[in-house]
């Protein structure tokens, strides 16, 4: 019998503890930012406080209307806050309400769009070329990103004015062929058949005379690759 009582008492005290903790956490709810048109309990709190201090003489109705707005502005002005009629962190603090401390927000993500953009240009520049030639075109573009003489981002290199014909004539926006996607992945993982080349061109169609002054490293399909 005593044992039973003891057990019941233990259960009761555990329950009490749980309820106590729960209410503790419930207390720890922070106030939300309020502005013209907001409604709810938080608005009531503001209205009540402002009325107690003589800034507000309207009803405590939980609706953030014109009168509340005027009162908040007056309060902000008197307390040296930014006068914007918005009850944010600073204003809540001045009203004596707890505000949520600034904390680090985790779980960052990356888009991983680079592969597709690179594949689009490879596909447009080197369609019909041997697979190795596609990887090589991707590698040249990535070598440019790493080079001091070119823009420092992938988009900067690809969209540099006059750099790539497919960007000028719009063929870069065609969906890339599957080999180009694999080639882009390889190039991004570091495969570089050109050993650091920065230029490539088709000798049959290139008109620009300066290209021949470059040191040609190798030839793949219809393209030559040079430093």
């Amino acid at each position: 019998m005593r044992k039973k009582l003891l057990i019941a008492a233990t259960i009761m005290s555990i329950l009490l503890l749980v309820v106590g903790f729960y209410s503790l956490f419930a207390e720890a709810r922070y106030r939300s930012t309020l502005y013209y048109g907001s409604t709810g309990e938080d608005v009531r709190v503001v209205q009540q406080k402002l009325r107690n201090w003589g800034y507000y003489d309207g009803p405590i109705d939980g609706y953030y209307g014109g009168k509340t707005f005027q009162a908040v502005r007056l309060f902000q002005q008197k307390n040296g806050l930014k006068v914007d009629g918005i009850v944010g962190r600073q204003t809540w603090q001045a009203l004596g309400e707890p505000v949520k401390p600034v904390s680090y927000q985790g779980r960052a993500r990356a888009t991983g769009q680079n592969t597709y953009l690179l594949a689009q240009l490879i596909s447009a520049e080197a369609r019909g070329e041997p697979f190795e030639g596609m990887v090589a075109v991707g590698a040249v573009i990535l070598n440019r990103v790493e080079s001091a003489a070119f823009p420092n981002t992938l988009a900067g290199v690809i969209y540099q004015p006059l750099a790539f014909e497919p960007v000028m004539n719009g063929t870069i926006y065609n969906p890339p062929v599957p080999e180009a996607i694999r080639a882009a992945n390889l190039a991004l993982s570091g495969w570089d058949p050109t050993y650091g080349c920065l230029y490539f061109w088709n000798p049959a169609t290139a008109r620009n005379p300066w290209v021949w002054r470059r040191t040609i490293v190798r030839r793949i399909g219809n393209h030559v690759f040079a430093k």
Binding site: S103, Y104, Q105, G106, R107, A108, R109, A110, T111, G112, T115, P130, F131, E132, V135, S147, A148, A149, F150, P151, N152, G156, Q160, P161, L162, A163, E179, I181, R182, N185, L186, S189, G190, W191, D192, P193, T194, Y195, G196, C197, N208, W210, V211, T215, I216, V217, R218, R219, I220
Partner: protein
């Protein structure tokens, strides 16, 4: 009567097409102006950042206050990068702009390296002051050249779009458009005799002269290279399914001179491409190009296959550093260990197909450039000391020693601390000799695995 109707109709057509044409014309004009304004903005921004830069460099030479010098160098770093970004937006082809772009990048990178040097308590040397003087002089010459065409472009006499598109029709034969001419002059008069700039930064000129450390001594013949590749791929030279083809035209003159070889499947459905180094006969990289079937393997199984593959090639102690999941394959980055120290510079990449687990890609350029038996020093900072050196909010989960490459290409022995901060995973590297925090990586997940940033 009928004639009149035709005349009216023809008149309507003429008026309509005139109207349409005019609409097209104004629309085109607006687009052209819009484009022109972007180029104009880039040019004027460039000029402003270059002018600022010249002034800042002069101030650095004049000041006697170390604090002031730090502030000025940070400004140079910003102004130089901003100038480079605007320069690269001009509609002038890169070969003409290249030297100027490199100059601006190096000025920024150089001042950043000097800031890091100050941080370690080392002041500027006389040689570095000379270096800054010559950079200042070049920046001044560049400023003058840009100022000279400023009035030309701001009063609209020269339009950037015209320079780009119809320069040839509007100018007398053989003459170069003024914008392009200015940049050609800059390239030839100012930038050609750019001094070689060597310092502790990623764009320093010395990094282009790095020689491979991981090649064996012996030179191999083309035939030996072929049998090395057959061995590597586990294909018999007599196998009738594959035909070896050497690309005779190829003459790789890169960092590692190599034979480039190609194996073609006789059924035409696959090809294998690879480079075998002339010195040492190493596989520099290899890729199998074939159609892929639906992924059947789990990435983890693929990773085990990659590790097993490396074991077969004689790498018994490797650690998986990183995995990238592609559409049909997984790329596994493996790093060797030397006495439990992870050698990050010596990484090898193995790509495994997810349909049948075949190794379809291999890349060892980094490994061949960096790998050598290192004389690793004894750490002067202990494991526990390293743990205490990191931010107390960082929850350390694992600690090990590693050799890591710095931005400048140098290597340091460091404690690698893996841990969590606010739900994110980070790696922090503490120099094992002097306790400096050398590097922090945040591991960011996306749909294709994880990225270290």
């Amino acid at each position: 009567m009928r004639n009149k109707l035709w005349i009216v109709l023809a008149g309507l057509v003429v008026v309509g097409s005139l109207f349409g044409g005019y609409q097209q014309y104004t629309q085109r004009q607006r687009l052209e102006n819009l484009l022109n304004s972007r180029y104009q903005q880039a040019f004027l921004n460039l000029l402003e950042h270059v002018e600022q830069n010249q002034v800042l460099l002069a101030k650095i030479l004049l000041t006697s206050s170390p604090k002031q010098r730090t502030a000025l160098l940070s400004d140079v770093w910003y102004e130089a990068n901003a100038a480079q970004e605007n320069l690269n937006q001009l509609p002038i082809s890169q070969p003409i702009l290249g030297h100027t772009a490199k100059f601006l990048t190096q000025v920024g990178d150089y001042s950043y390296s000097l800031l890091r040097q100050f941080d370690l308590g080392k002041p500027l040397t006389d040689k570095q002051l000379d270096q800054i003087t010559s950079l200042h002089n070049q920046m001044l010459a560049l400023t003058k050249k840009l100022q000279a065409i400023r009035s030309l472009v701001t009063d609209g006499k020269v339009s950037w779009v015209e320079i780009k598109e119809h320069g040839k029709d509007k100018l007398p034969k053989g003459e170069i458009p003024p914008g392009e001419k200015t940049f050609r002059d800059i390239d030839q008069e100012i930038m050609q005799d750019q001094p070689v700039l060597i310092y502790d930064g990623p764009f320093s000129d010395h990094l282009e002269m790095v020689q491979p450390k991981g090649l064996a001594e012996k030179n191999v013949s083309p035939d030996e290279a072929k049998s090395i590749l057959y061995d590597f791929l586990d294909i018999s030279p007599e196998d009738k399914n594959w035909k070896m083809r050497t690309n005779t035209q190829s003459n790789p003159g890169g960092k590692i001179p190599a034979y480039s070889l190609k194996l073609q499947a006789t059924n035409g459905k696959a090809e294998i491409i690879a480079d075998v180094s002339k010195k040492g006969g190493h596989i520099v990289w290899m890729a199998i190009n074939r159609p892929f079937g639906k992924p059947k393997l789990k990435p983890e199984t693929a990773r085990e296959k990659a590790v097993a593959f490396m074991k077969k090639k004689g790498f018994f102690r490797v650690k998986t550093s990183f995995m990238k999941i592609n559409q049909y394959t997984v790329t596994v980055v493996l790093v060797p260990l030397q006495d439990d120290v992870v050698l990050y510079p010596d990484q090898v990449k193995v790509e495994v197909a997810l349909d049948n687990g075949q190794v379809v890609g291999y890349e060892a350029l980094g490994f061949l450039m960096a790998h050598h038996k290192r004389d690793l020093p004894e750490p002067k900072v202990t494991r526990d000391e390293a743990r205490k050196l990191v931010n107390e909010k960082f929850k350390v989960q694992a600690v090990n020693l590693a050799v890591i490459p710095l931005r400048s290409g140098k290597e340091v022995l460091a404690w690698e601390l893996r841990g969590a901060y606010g739900g994110d995973t980070f790696f922090i590297y503490i120099n094992a000799l002097n306790g400096n925090e050398e590097q922090i990586f945040q591991i960011i997940t996306n749909d294709n695995g994880q990225l270290a940033l």
